[in-house]
Structures are given as C-alpha cells and as structure tokens.
C-alpha cells in the first residue's frame, strides 16, 4: 500500500477522504425542509443527516457532535424548527471550533418552509464553492479508520466475503490503520476465541463481559440477531451466523473495546460495543444496519465495508459503504448495488 491516496486535512490533524457539505435537521419537524435544501445537490457531495427526537438527549447530542465534525465533512448547515430541545447553538459552536464553516437556520425565525429552503440552498451553494477550493494532500493507510458490518447474511457469508474482509483488515492493520468490527450480538458463541486474541488480560475480560451483556439483552427480548432471510440463505442458528460474522475481524490482535462515537486512539483492531449498558430499556440494540453504520461513522470510520448475501442496498451519508457480495447469484442479480463479488471464492473461478 503506497501513499497514493489523498485527503483533506482538518484542524484536529485527521484527514477526510471526502469533502462533504452536510445538512443536518435537529428535529423530525425540520426533516422536510432539510431534505428539500439538499435535493438539487444530490450528486454534488451534499448529504442529509439528522435526529428526529424533540426532547434533549445526551446520546443524540454526542452523535451529532461526532458526525458533524467527522473528517469527511468540510462544512455544515444546521436546520432547526425552533422549539425543539436540541442544543443547536452548543452544536454550532462545537463545529465552528473545529474550523469548519457552519450556519444555523431556524425555520420559525426565517419565516417558514419556502423561505428557509431558499436561504438554505444559497448557503449550501456558498459552502460548496468554498470547500471545492480546498486542495487535498497525500494521505497514508495509517491515517485511515475502516469499519465493517454484514447485513442480509447467508450460508456463503462465513466462507467467502467475511474471511476476505478479514484478510483486508489484517493488511490494513499491518499498515497502521485502525479497523473496527462490531455487532456483539452476532458474536455470541465467539467470545472465548476473541478473548484469546485480546492484547491484554484485562481487555480479554472486558470482551467476554461485553458479549455476555449482548446475550442477556437478546434473551430478554426473546430473539437473537437473526432475520428470516438468513435462514432462507442457508444459515440455521445464531451461533452459525456468529461464526461467519466473526470472520470479518481477521486474525490481528484486538487492541481495544470502544463505545459508539469514541475514536480509536491508535491503529489496530477494535471491537465496537453497540449494546447499551444497564437494564434492557431501548429495544433491539441493532435495530437496523443503518444505525450501526452511523455509530461506526461517529467513531471516525472513513469507509465501511459491508458484506451481504441476500442483497442489502443500505448506504450512508458522510462515508461510502462498499458492498461485497457473498455469492455470484445475488451479485449477478443486483450488480448495480454491489462493488465486489466474493462469490467467486465459492465458485472456484
């Protein structure tokens, strides 16, 4: 891996592989206006993110702080209705302190839907012009943070795409990159294998506890992280799916356990603990693949490698999601959505 990549340097020293202008709504009531602002720029690296809740929520505030100052982001437009609980000016000053251009539009103050959309588009136009003038500089693999996830897994996942991602992770880690794997609920049954790969005995203990927490969560909720489509793809049990999912982590030492939004402090392989601490309160921890991708991006992932057997079409704002197909049948059917066909491993071609 040579220094052929380029990235945009940010004030915290990190580099982005994209220079996205992000428009963020701060309550569901502002979603429509924010979506309309973004509409004419859909192929011009202007992305839409947001938080729907009306009441103040520390988790959401923290996620939005991390996402809006992600290295792939060059400028931010915040869209508020006005009466919601989100600390918009706290977020605005956090973004401004990172050196990024930032503006906040309050729909109730700007005079309503149409006026805010119009004003928002002109601000996005200015931000896009400003960010387009910035020049990327050389970037090395050691400056990358890469996440992986699987969705719509099948009987080929653990044989083709997942071990292939594991090999890629081993190479990235050897070159100094930080790599993140997650979904502790899909690592049930693999905890002792993972503990044996932990850099320290203390971390080994934390990893086992973290998977036990996930197992407890799922048993209270009455089912594992297993969708009907997994069985249609040849997977029969949670532990079989886990064995396959685990293969994405490769063979490197595990150097740390992080929480969503926490950045890996060094290069190396990290496990992301996506299950909340404490009593079972919030429903399924991995309610959707999108939520987990968002958490990995909040932890600084520049890119997400997504393996799929049934054919997931999930993508994301901020960081590109690379799709790796586990089988050639689905790859041929859904080629427009897939980036890599690992099904050739099973075909032997």
């Amino acid at each position: 891996m040579g220094g052929v990549m380029k990235g945009w340097l940010r004030s915290d020293g990190r580099k982005g592989i994209r220079n996205v202008v992000v428009v963020a709504y701060l309550v569901e009531c502002a979603h429509h206006v924010a979506r309309e602002i973004v509409l004419p720029y859909r192929n011009k690296d202007v992305h839409l993110i947001g938080f729907p809740g009306c009441y103040f929520n520390e988790y959401a505030q923290e996620m939005m702080r991390k996402l809006t100052t992600h290295p792939n982001i060059g400028a931010v437009l915040l869209v508020s209705l006005g009466c919601e609980g989100f600390d918009k000016y706290g977020l605005e000053s956090h973004i401004a302190a990172s050196g990024r251009p930032v503006q906040t539009l309050v729909i109730q103050g700007e005079g309503g839907t149409r006026k805010t959309i119009e004003l928002g588009r002109s601000l996005v136009e200015e931000m896009r012009m400003e960010t387009d003038k910035q020049t990327p500089i050389p970037m090395t693999p050691a400056e990358l943070v890469v996440g992986t996830i699987c969705g719509g897994s099948d009987g080929a996942s653990g044989i083709t795409a997942n071990p292939a991602v594991g090999k890629a992770f081993d190479q990235l880690v050897a070159n100094g990159a930080a790599c993140i794997f997650e979904e502790t609920g899909e690592l049930i049954g693999c905890e002792e294998h993972m503990a044996a790969r932990a850099a320290t005995p203390a971390l080994a203990e934390e990893i086992v506890k973290c998977v036990e927490k996930a197992a407890k969560y799922y048993s209270v909720l009455g089912q594992g992280s297993f969708a009907p489509g997994n069985a249609e793809g040849g997977l029969t049990t949670q532990e079989e799916k886990s064995m396959g999912a685990y293969a994405k982590s490769g063979a490197s030492k595990i150097v740390g356990l992080i929480k969503p939004g926490m950045q890996p402090p060094t290069g190396g392989l990290y496990l992301l603990d996506v299950v909340p601490d404490g009593d079972v309160r919030f429903g399924f921890p991995n309610i959707s693949d999108n939520a987990e991708i968002t958490e990995m991006i909040a932890s600084g992932c520049h890119v997400i490698i997504f393996t799929t057997g049934r054919g997931s079409v999930v993508g994301s704002a901020i960081s590109p999601v690379i799709k790796v197909s586990t089988n050639s049948q689905m790859y041929n059917r859904m080629m427009d959505d897939m980036d890599v066909n690992a099904g050739t491993i099973l075909d032997g071609t």
Binding site: G189, Q223, G224, A231, E232, T237, E239
Partner: protein, 105 residues
C-alpha cells in the same frame, strides 16, 4: 480427506465437521460423493446450505468451521440437508417466515 473423496460441488470447511456446504444448487435426487461414498440429495439444496457428511443422532452437535453451531433435533443421514427442520440453536431460538419458503430465490 483427499479432494477425490469429495464431490467438487461440495466444500468441507474443517476435517472435524459433520456437515459439508453446497457450492452450487443441487436438485433433489442428485447423487454426490462424500468421503468416497455415494449419497442421494434428499431435497433441493441452494448454494451455501449444509449437507450431512455422517450419521448424526438427535442431540449431537453439528460441527461447521470445526465449531459447534447447534444440535440435531432428529436423526440425520448422510446426504440429507441440515437446516431448521432437523437442527436447532444451543443458544437462542430463531424466527422464520415459513410462508416465504416457496418464494426463495
């Protein structure tokens, strides 16, 4: 096990395993070579699905990747498909949509 003892349409992931994996679609009635013996596939099998390599008794662990992935819920004969109808998780039950079975692609 040497290559010639196993059908090229099947994949053995670990020597300890009692299942092999279909690399391609195998129709009901297809005869396949497993450990040097010929067996008849008992029902249509899609790529990535498991096929028994040995006699497996109820309660016996199913081994794939050299690791237990659940237990047999009934007697399984070599060449039979191994799935939700004849094995179960040792951890947590799964939810399937039986009505989707006929729409599988």
């Amino acid at each position: 096990m040497t290559e010639t003892n196993l059908d090229h349409r099947l994949l053995l992931l670990c020597d300890d395993d009692n299942v092999v994996v279909a690399r391609t679609r195998l129709g009901q009635g297809t005869d396949v070579l497993i450990d040097g013996s010929r067996y008849i596939i008992n029902r249509d099998v899609l790529p990535g699905f498991k096929i028994a390599r040995t006699e497996i008794s109820p309660g016996q662990k199913i081994l794939k990747y050299g690791a237990p992935i659940g237990s047999a819920s009934q007697e399984i004969t070599p060449g039979a498909r191994v799935h939700t109808d004849n094995m179960k998780s040792d951890y947590i039950a799964i939810h399937t949509n039986e009505s989707d079975e006929s729409h599988v692609i």
